[in-house]
Subunit: 151 residues, 2 copies
DNA sequence: CCGGATCCAGCGGGATACTG
DNA sequence: CAGTATCCCGCTGGATCCGG
């Protein structure tokens, strides 16, 4: 990360035609994934499920701030994309368990790359913005090294 | 991508307390980055600027689908975060050039990791969704070639 | 316990017109 | 050429009530 245009892994094919081809209805798979990642809750859910299997209200309590509606929609979306597996146990009180599929689990890797980048450069960004990095708050929302200080 | 929960690099601290701590106002730097990445145009602009310096209307034509309003706002946002550098040349017809800062350039790496994941799994996702991957449209809008090269 | 249905505020984002 | 300003629509996402 020295020069502006050193060698970037991939992403660009050395040269695009002229105008970016698609982008009309962005059916581009990368764009869709990007939207998913940019989603306010999807990543949180995926990260949590990356640890173990969770039940609905367990996730609801675990995320703190999400509404049932959003949790439901997020899980449905992730399920539709094959990232999350929904398992219903026929109990007297309905019990549903959510877990990550192998596909969803594999997403954790590129995700961690992004999170890592954000952590390493948060100070630079905060400095440019003029916004102090409010202490050394690490990755509070993601449970990356933080004490069980009661919420 | 075999087991569901192998070992994921970072992201989680091996164990979280119980409920995710913050998430109240998500000042978390990772969340902010995620929003940026999820942004409809930011990534496109960053990727384009990853190739070379562009002028305003050059980007406008190059992205195809973006409005001036959004291009301006996107560039301003990226500029505020120190990812993009804006250079004004005092010419008779105003000329402004945009380029990536080293910081912005470094973002291309984790970004390519995500794009790479999306490309490798787009078929699985499309299959689960029941939506055919509309032909073998690779990465139309992103022109990712191959060889993630050693980052 | 799980989640669907409804109502509603906020803002992301497109179209258009105007300025320096 | 490089924006700024205004209008306006649709989606996101929170709150709440309701049903199985």
């Amino acid at each position: 990360m020295s020069a502006a245009n050193t060698d970037v892994p991939s992403l660009v094919s050395t040269r695009l035609p002229s105008p970016v081809p698609s982008a009309e209805h962005d059916q581009c798979p990368v764009t869709e994934i990007l939207r998913r990642v940019g989603d306010k809750w999807s990543v949180l859910v995926v990260v949590l499920l990356g640890q173990r299997t969770y039940r609905f209200n367990e996730l609801h309590r675990g995320i703190d701030g999400i509404s049932q509606r959003m949790l439901t929609r997020t899980l449905r979306g992730l399920e539709l994309d094959g990232l999350v597996l929904r398992t219903v146990h026929p109990s007297v009180p309905p019990s549903v368990e959510y877990s990550l599929t192998p596909l969803g689990s594999s997403l954790l890797h590129p995700l961690s790359a992004l999170a890592d980048w954000a952590l390493r450069h948060q100070l630079e960004i905060a400095a440019v913005r003029g916004r102090p990095a409010h202490g050394s708050v690490g990755l509070a929302g993601y449970g990356l090294s933080r004490s069980p200080s009661g919420s």
